[in-house]
Assembly symmetry: C2
Homo-oligomer: 175 residues x 2
């Protein structure tokens, strides 16, 4: 499956929430997510632009592979995912196979629905506030997502293609 | 978790079923299992004596890592397992990570309970008929399993430490 979405940094998440409300957006849910990212035993994911993670939302776990980004503006990429019953055991399996845990990204996510768009308002620990937008279906262009963000008051300059993992690692290294 | 179990080849599975019945064994279930085994991208599992598989039983999937065998008689080894919701997606994730499918082992398994022992009577496609025995708890010796097998009429000479995967690959290569 292709995951077509765009992400932008926000300095004032309250202004965004207000814009979503005014456009008739509905809060669909709020959750804490814990994403454990792993390194490959014989491949440098930071060079191949791939990622492997175990996500926990409440007591539910999933295993996700993300392929390289294939679009210059959005963070569109192949995404393959399956629920897993036991996240700790899944992590131990990866470790035995030589995958080492790289970092854990913790975030609070609010999920809104605005017409055909899914809007996620994320507060990412040690990284900051972000908005992510996805649209259902596959027949649309990245530019549509950029225009939709603009309609929420988020300019093109705020668009961020780096992943939360990359941003967290950069913040740690003081870049 | 340590998986402490022993396996033996059977030429006459009917005689074993009869022995189980006479000792009061109860048939707990019968199922078709499909085990897809994968190769590691940078490690030779046949040398490290490890295994990674996705098992399907009916519509339920699990992901299992098996460490090297640590006992000279039985096939005792570390086993780490988690249910996975989508076996096909889990397989695709492994393939993207460089794990290649090695072979698929298909078997019909009958599961019996005999006191503290779990007895599995397996018919493995292209490999043959086998019996596997496990005991609950951890405070017992491999010799107990050997003696239990003998009580079912299965001699020490029939004990097989090679995995079904190894046996299948050897059968294919005509060894």
């Amino acid at each position: 499956m292709l995951e077509i979405e765009i992400k932008a940094k926000m300095d004032r998440p309250e202004a965004l929430r207000e814009a979503i409300r005014q456009m008739g957006g509905l809060l669909r849910g709020k959750e804490d997510q814990e994403d454990r990212y792993f390194c490959h035993p014989s491949r440098d994911f930071s060079e191949t632009d791939e990622a492997l993670r175990i996500r926990r939302v409440g007591r539910a776990f999933s295993l996700t592979y993300k392929g390289p980004k294939i679009d210059p503006v959005t963070k569109t990429r192949e995404e393959i995912e399956t629920p897993v019953g036991d996240g700790a055991e899944a992590g131990r399996i990866l470790e035995r196979l030589g995958f080492q845990e790289r970092a854990t990204v913790l975030k609070e996510r609010e999920r809104y629905r605005l017409g055909e768009f899914h809007v996620m308002v994320d507060r990412v620990e040690k990284v900051g506030d972000f908005v992510e937008v996805e649209k259902e279906g596959s027949s649309y262009t990245p530019e549509e997502l950029v225009e939709f963000l603009a309609s929420l008051g988020v300019g093109r300059g705020a668009i961020e293609r780096r992943s939360y993992l990359e941003l967290l690692l950069e913040a740690r290294e003081g870049r």
